[in-house]
């Protein structure tokens, strides 16, 4: 199956067509083989998606936009940010498109192009990753308080009982936990960023 696709993607290498470059770029930044060119626009993904109502485009429409080369429109869509990674669409897709992973790709491309509409989600990811890069572990208390303070200050009072509960039930550590060999992890991530062309 993979080989079939790899032969097919070679058809996309048409330097004269800038629209196809966006599709290629998205495919290149996706972890597995995206299979975006296989989408038949059946809508199984949009039908399966639990939070579809909150998206400004269904996944299927987004794929059509990617294939048409509508770069800015696609990267500023809120759709990837609403995706809850439930993988219903992935297992149901009759064409085997790696939908959830394409959503991750679009997020990372939107962050790089600064095209996201709402900074809540990118900020959350950033804060989460900052903690990991610093400690090697996630740090829920720091993350949740910082994040809610910034983005949902009015909700904090409502959330307080829950946060209080989590603390008293000893389900949240006030202090972060750091792994022993954090230097090694940081060196790895540094090198990874070089490979990715990020640093």
């Amino acid at each position: 199956m993979t080989s079939e696709i790899q032969t097919k993607t070679s058809f996309l290498h048409d330097p004269s067509n800038p629209n196809l470059r966006f599709l290629e770029e998205v495919s290149a930044h996706t972890a597995g083989v995206s299979r975006l060119e296989m989408c038949i626009q059946c809508g199984t993904c949009g039908g399966s998606c639990p939070p579809a109502a909150d998206m400004d485009h269904t996944p299927r429409m987004l794929f059509a936009m990617i294939r048409a080369g509508f770069r800015e429109e696609a990267l500023s869509s809120n759709t990837p940010w609403i995706c809850v990674s439930c993988y219903h669409c992935v297992v149901r897709c009759p064409q085997g498109v790696h939908i959830a992973d394409v959503m991750y790709t679009l997020k990372s491309m939107a962050i790089r192009a600064k095209l996201y509409q709402d900074s809540t989600a990118p900020d959350f990811s950033r804060s989460f990753v900052d903690n990991i890069e610093k400690y090697g572990r996630s740090y829920e208390f720091g993350l949740a308080t910082r994040h809610y303070l910034k983005h949902f200050p009015l909700r904090l009072p409502g959330m307080a009982p829950m946060g209080f509960g989590m603390l008293t039930k000893q389900r949240m550590d006030i202090m972060p936990h750091k792994i022993d060999n954090i230097d090694q992890l940081q060196a790895i991530l540094e090198r990874a960023k070089e490979v990715e062309g990020l640093s």
Binding site: T2, T30, A31, G32, V33, P50, P51, D54, W81, I82, V84, S85, C86, Y87, H88, V90, V91, D101, M103, Y104, T105, K107, S108, I111, T120, A121, F124, S125, F128, V129, I132, G136, R137, S138, A144, R155, G158, M159, P161, M162, G165, M166, K169, Q170, R171, H177, I179, N181, Q184, L185, A187, I188, L189, E190, R191, A192, K193, V195, E196, L198
Partner: protein, 329 residues
Amino acid sequence: MNDKYLYYPGCSMESSAKAYSESLAAICEPIGLHLEEINDWNCCGATEYIGISLTPAYSLITRNLALASLQADGTRTVVAPCSACYLNLAKADYYMQERPILGENVNTALAAGGLHYDPGSLFIRHLLDVIINDIGLDKVKSKVVRPLTGLRVAPYLGCMVPRPDYEHRWSNPEYPNELDRLLKTLGAEVIDFPLKTHCCGGHMTQIGPNTAFELIRRLVSSADQYRAEVMVTLGPMCQMNIDAYQGEMNRHFHTDYRMPIIFFTQLMGLAFGLNAKQLGFGRELVGTREMLQRIGVEAPEPIEAVPAHKPRMKEGLPMPRMPGDEEVN
């Protein structure tokens, strides 16, 4: 059978999912499960890092697999109890094979820390898979001293364990029967929960609470319609969203659900006769007192087996059966 399993706990097991961790520790001995924690493991990045960059995110995940390889010593299986961790580890292993360039890049990065991982060299499995398929239900059954007779439970697996299931380890990506079978073995009355692998909202509780509340409501209300007394899960994030955010969800929709949700290991411990405190009971925000009382006493009267709106067919046309179909347990 493998003597030991390499164990990747994941961050939540040490904080929000302590009950999971404690109950797992308690049941290991009775069922003969030997877990060896991967030394100095790091966070898998959840669903956040892969939405920021590709190679760093996969290098972060794969560092754990590289460390596990060093510790392998005859075993090849890594066990993760957390859904998101399980998926991330499995995913890195799979995609590094599907797209070799990703594998090369990740190993270039790992080399900076003196590490290396050969994709495909370890089996990444979820705790439930190991209990069902390696330990076996017969073994589990033999340890049950306090059957959970009459307790109506809603099996809730969430998304990331049965899907996308790269290695086809589960009976079905949408209606897997593994958790149902385990809970039946413990003596519980297991409802045919239609939303058993639907989404709890994931990280949306943090970045889009309204979206998440709606998803939580669907799950809790459906479990309630089926008159479940408790939901049983196997993922820290699922447990946290449904447990900790249920109150906030109730305020949002002006509802008053009180649906407790616990980890399957906690129920196993109860059935094995262990005490509730040792199993992490009391850490949940939606209390389990009623539920515990029901199994503490003699087996209660079973309640109506089917929710009111699902009429039972006694006459009329026969339900479909197809040649070659086996009954799903």
